[in-house]
Amino acid sequence: MSGTHGTETTAGPVLGDTPPEATSATGEAGDNSAGIAAVGRVARALMPATGVVQDPTQLRTYECDGLAHYRVTPALVVLPETTEQLAGVVRACAEHGVPFVARGSGTGLSGGALPRADGVLVVTSRMRTIREVRRADQRAVVEPGVINLDVTRAATPEGYYYAPDPSSQQICSIGGNLAENSGGAHCLKYGFTSNHVLGAELVTPQGDVVTLGGLAPDAPGYDLLGTVVGSEGTLGIATTATVRLVRLPEEVRTLLAGFRTTDDAGAATSAIIGSGVLPAAIEMMDALAIEAAEAAVHCNYPDGAGAVLVIELDGPATEVEHEYAEVERLCTEHGAFELRLAIDAAERALIWKGRKSAFAAVGRISPDYIVQDGVIPRTALPEVLRAIAELSSSSGVRVANVFHAGDGNLHPLVLFDDAKPGAGDAAEQVSGAILDLCISHGGAITGEHGVGVDKAAYMPKMFTDDDLDTMQLVRCAFDPDNISNPGKVFPTPRLCGEVPGKKKHAHPLVEAGLADSF
């Protein structure tokens, strides 16, 4: 695993040097230039000249996604505008054995859209049409390059919104969300992308266009869509998505609660969930994260807080009223020394501003940092936070904690100064040790950022070889030639070969009695 360094959380194309880290897992250039040239010819025939990028300088602007520590310049970039163009390029890739990687807005934090030096980067940013907002069906049909927040903007006049809200929602794309099964602060109550994408048109790694799911629920057959969502671009490229629209709630209340310690805030979180209240969101920030947010956006969080909770309640007004009283009582009981209720949209925005800016804000207090993403059972929060604090003090590496407390999704920010010799390595060790803590508490190595290239090596800590092999049966069904975003998710590719056990004919040498098959 490697880190996100400093301001490198920047989205979109970033200029920089190709690092020595580029390994064969992400593709060596050179051996398939004829294939690339052939795909380039097909692409130029299919789409306008501006949709095919081959100039080396321009290619380098696509060398990384939001995890800019990994950089690989793709051999070819295409920007299709239609499903037909995209499918045509993928078909050409399949024909010539050229790997391809899909990219939406490039905001992913696990290197899922890291290009291949020997491959094609398929960028969906020109497929940006919201085709339909179907209020009567509570659905929208959108193209993959559509920005997450734009779906909500289009649905709000109808009284609806799109619930999954990753903190990059102003720039991240629906296609990328689908690939990563993106979460967000409000998925505590409303679920993740996989609960909200109900249909998709998928270009398979062979370049075929198939329809999965749709406007109606429970399509007959296997729920392939359920497996495609979150498969990080390894099963094909979605060219449209049918998404659920959620009715805007009658009432929203946002509460900021200040606590002396993260233990108190963690206990309050458990008490709220245990009481049967299901807030839309419960977010926690510790002292260091608060310090950073204050420095960056002056969010005016309570003085002297060792932790704050941002709790949002939504729903019918009478229910929210009751839940608010309950949450207020439980926070006070667990040591909250200040409670602040946002009384209007501006105050609500200010409370959220501190939380949503926290990652970037850490850049104010540390030149470099790693954004970690791990999950633990919610009840283990106090224990794991104490263990992280011990790790931090014994290693001398500062760790700021910002996370989705309600569902146990930690985002420790491991701070370091890359200018100091050995600091980066020490930070990576702490970051890795935090993941080990998550695993040893029965959690997961990623809650929403994905595995990508960043955590593929950690997969065997969570899954056995048989588990990973079984997942790769799906991979082999969709992509037997391993050309759709190869090198991501799985630490070791599975050689798919022929369908096992389906013996057609014996080898001619065996039939001729010249050899035996064992």
């Binding site: 998925c187 996989s194 329809t211 009715r247 009658e250 059972p377 997961a444 997969m459 588990d467 997942m471």
Partner: protein, 421 residues
Amino acid sequence: MTTVSIDSARASLSSACSDVAEGTPADAVDGVPVALVARPASTAETGEVMRAAAASGLTVVARGRGTKTAWGRPPERADLVVDLSRMSAVLDHAAGDLIVDTQAGALLADVQRTVGTAGQRLALDEVVPGSSIGGTLATNTSGPGRVGVGTARDLLIGCTVVRADGVVAKAGGRVVKNVAGYDLGKLFIGSYGTLAVLTEAVFRLHPVPPARRVVTVPFDTAADAGRLVQAVVHAQVVPAAVEVEWRPDGPGTVGVQLGGTAAGVESRVAATLQLLGAGATAAEEPPPGWGVLPWRDTAERGTGLKLTCALSGLTAVLDAARRAAADAGVRLTLRGSGGAGVLYGALPADAPAGAVAAVVDRTRTVCGEHGGALVVVEAPAPVLAAVDVWGPVPAIDLMRRVKERFDPERRLAPGRFVGGI
């Protein structure tokens, strides 16, 4: 299978599992005789059983409690039933984390009892009484509560399966938020046991709401039903369920369930009564038949249909199904989650197969026009012979490829699922 091979298969199964018996007529899978029944006691033992079955070339049908073995098409063969009823333990209820880990053979009712002690529930309605967890997942059953909290795919967070080759594999985990690796659980939900044998499942739980009430209103026409459902789903009352019921004679009923705090439910009931207009009444308990599959209203089972559509297609689908039944001269009961675009239909056991086929064809066309599908869930043999059970299935080629990878020898319930999978 010949008698000799049964004996040798039985011997090798018996070394894998302590409980192996010959199949009885009661074990038959939708009329297909079963030679052997193995009842493994653990995931590991299930793995051994599957390895032995593979070595002996046996086809296998997994069974939880056998309440839905007639669903789908009858399998081509069913040499061995792997019965999971000995694996009935609720393994771990982590109340503070709102999750439950259970063996696949556990009764859904037992899981509810266990988690209920902490004021929690697994938000899966028991639409077929006596169902196991494994059977519920394999057939992806759902009830009225799907409008509020979704279906199995929204609740399952981890699973353990035994593959056709006996390999044990896990996917997901024990935390509600987790994007590490493929979400195989969703692939197994609704797969009718054709990909693997599910042995363990981990679910997220929900708190039991302190108060629940149901508002019902009668309607006369399909258009009225569609309008009432639209009125409720676009309001801000956050219904837990929006049901539509329409028996062959008389008016239909739209039922809206609200769950929450006592005070909250009271005000939302008032709002819902207003939305539904004249004739709407509120009650503590849902009306009779609520959450029951309509073809299970009577002891003599007829044909059961599942109809789906986009929400805006509800009027057209209700209308088409009623007209098709009237024209074919058969009595059709419709009931289901109108607020989710799901309806179930029941036709009597004595309805002529040709008449049932006519209803299926005409209604399926209209479901398809509204983005949905019609599936014949279960039916008497003459009807099964006369209808296309699954109807058109987009992406069937990709599904076949998935099946070939998981079960290349077609060991698991061959022929039961879509496209002869």
